[in-house]
Amino acid sequence: MSGRVLVGVKRVIDYAVKIRVKPDNTGVVTDGVKHSMNPFCEIAVEEAVKLKEKKLVKEVVAVSCGPQQSQETIRTALAMGADRGIHVEVSGKDYETLGPLQVSKIMAALAKKEDAQLIILGKQAIDDDCNQTGQMTAALLDWPQGTFASEVTLDGDKIKVVREIDGGLETIKINTPAVLTADLRLNTPRYATLPNIMKAKKKKIANVKAADLGVNLTSRLETVEDLVGKLKEAGKV
């Protein structure tokens, strides 16, 4: 199988940041807070780039849905070895309510448009912990899914996936095209090298609107409240 891989990369609050909830309890403070690529998305990019280096796939396309700053996340993917990027611009109210359902519709539409044969996503994002986008995307495309992948082997037009499940490890063989979601132990993402960061500047990022892909971004979910848990009181010995 040689073809195009779509890798979804999400811009999230950096894992090391101490999160603060907004005073009006309507969400988490994001202004001026350091953001970076979701760690599981980094693992997904690394896997895609490794497949390209083994010449098992032809082209790696990094996709991100979000505001202007999402382009930074795509650039990081390009610096790691992705060939080009697609930025689906979603901002303002639409971005606040953007969730797995809308993103999976976008990924499905892009997969058809780009004639992708493999979609690799992180298993979940560290901000919402939804763990849904990969599964929904596969369902929308009616493609098999290899989720929580800790080992991926391409075997002709099939993929062998070792999945991390509660009971241990499960090995499945699925047809392509397919959706994979990356778990922690799939690989160790590489550092971008200085030359690759500079080369990434020349790689193209296409701008696309969700509407052009025929995707309705309206959310069916409404966040009622965001609460900080009560701090545990000291015990008595």
């Binding site: 950096d14 090391a16 940041v17 101490k18 001026g32 807070v33 350091k34 970076s36 930074e72 650039r75 990081t76 610096a79 550092y191 971008a192 090298t193 200085l194 030359p195 960061i197 500079m198 990434a200 500047k201």
Partner: protein, 422 residues
């Protein structure tokens, strides 16, 4: 309970508390390096997207590959060859050396940003990497094509390591009075003399040596590249230092050491000029290393103030400490601005570049040492223990006020330039 039991109980509690505090300290240390808070004194403001990417790689590398080993490298005096080669694979071996010979071809400002970030992981190792970079640049800039192709690729990949040899037992600040002689004999120069305090000396492969081919003074000095293994080249004992322990420091001794004349960089008599041009950039790099240490120390101090309680409240509620921290952060930001301006001036070859580089080295190494020292003070007794990283930052950057031109010599350069201005 009887008195003895009380005492045992309290001692037990104290041990448990000390143990958990230590674990928290280590945890805090490993997580502070790439500070996620975007506050006025973080290092990313005013940078291009590309520079932010460079900085991110350097911060990540420092946090993952260097910081966990910083204390061990210092204590066991390990020269971390494998880690430095990993850094070279990312392009850190010849950051401002030209790409045709394996370098990354970046600007002085990019370089400063990178060293500042790397330094948060280990000052000593980053400082050595900067010296190595300086040597690679000198060969790339002043060498002919043969010399560049022969030495630079291996240096940029850190297949081979380099040392910069100017200082002698009898000539430190008065560098131009150096005595190591290089007598022309046929197609060789025969070197006699010795160099002192050479970073990497004995463990490195390529020595960029300033030696006397002509008469007295700066105009009689040339620059020769000497390779390890050349007969007549030997090394003194490894020095025992207060800091910079992840790089060996030795005397480099020449006894009738014959070096091919084709190893001379530039013309005879150009050596001192080459050395000083190398040092301009070297001074920015050393200042950048001091910045990184100060950055890390301020974060460590901040975390300590938020955790440590005395007199019923955290130290962060103490106004004196609040004001002290504010001063430290201010000095850090001011230092950073000066270094980056000096780097830009050097890149653009501006007329004020030499003065700015000297000013940056003078101001930043002094101020950042004070910042690190105050951070140590804020830790109280814990600051003095080697379990806590802040003392290593203090020890490691103390020497930045001395080498690559003492801060006194920096004053000489600045005042001379000022007073000879028309």
């Amino acid at each position: 309970m009887c008195f003895k039991c009380c005492l045992c109980f309290v001692q037990c509690l104290h041990k448990v508390w000390r143990f958990s505090i230590n674990k928290i300290r280590l945890y805090i240390f490993f997580n502070i390096i790439s500070d996620p808070c975007v506050s006025p004194w973080t290092a990313s403001y005013g940078l291009t997207d590309e520079q932010k990417e460079f900085q991110k790689v350097a911060f990540d590398f420092a946090a993952n590959e260097m910081a966990p080993h910083m204390a061990e490298w210092d204590q066991k005096e390990v020269f971390p060859v494998e880690t430095m080669r990993k850094a070279a694979q990312l392009g850190f071996g010849g950051i401002y050396t030209r790409p045709e010979v394996g370098g990354s071809g970046l600007s002085r400002l990019d370089t400063s940003i990178i060293f500042e970030a790397l330094s948060t992981g280990c000052v000593s190792t980053t400082a050595y990497i900067s010296i190595h970079n300086m040597c690679a640049w000198m060969i790339d800039t002043f060498g002919n094509d043969e010399q560049r192709e022969s030495f630079c690729p291996d240096l940029c990949s850190m297949e081979k390591f380099a040392s910069y040899c100017l200082t002698e037992p009898g000539s430190g600040s008065d560098a131009a009075s150096l005595l190591t002689s290089a007598q022309r004999k046929g197609d060789h120069y025969v070197l006699n003399g010795s160099k002192a305090f050479i970073s990497g000396g004995g463990d490195t492969d390529v020595y960029v040596v300033m030696c006397r081919t002509g008469g007295k003074g700066a105009k009689g000095i040339s620059c020769l590249v000497v390779e390890k293994g050349t007969p007549g080249l030997s090394f003194g004992k490894k020095e025992r230092k207060v800091g910079w322990n992840s790089q060996p420091t030795r005397a480099v001794i020449f006894e009738d050491c014959a070096v091919p004349a084709t190893n001379r960089l530039g013309e005879e008599g150009q050596g001192f000029n080459i050395a000083m041009k190398g040092l301009n950039g070297g001074r920015i790099n050393i200042a950048s290393c001091s910045l990184g240490a100060a950055h890390a120390s301020v974060l460590l101090a901040k975390d300590h103030l938020l955790v440590r309680k005395q007199f019923g409240e955290t130290l962060a509620n103490n106004q004196f400490l609040q004001f002290k921290l504010a001063e430290m952060a201010t000095k850090l930001v001011a230092s950073r601005l000066l270094v980056r301006e000096a780097a830009t001036a050097l890149q653009e070859d501006r007329a004020d570049a030499v003065s700015l580089c000297s000013m940056a080295k003078l101001f930043v190494t002094d101020e950042c040492f004070n910042v690190c020292n105050q951070a140590l003070q804020m830790h109280g007794g814990y600051g003095y223990l080697k379990d806590y990283a802040v003392q290593q930052f203090v020890r490691d950057i103390r020497v930045h006020q001395i080498l690559e031109g003492t801060n006194e010599v920096m004053r000489m350069i600045i005042s001379r330039n000022l007073l000879t201005e028309s």
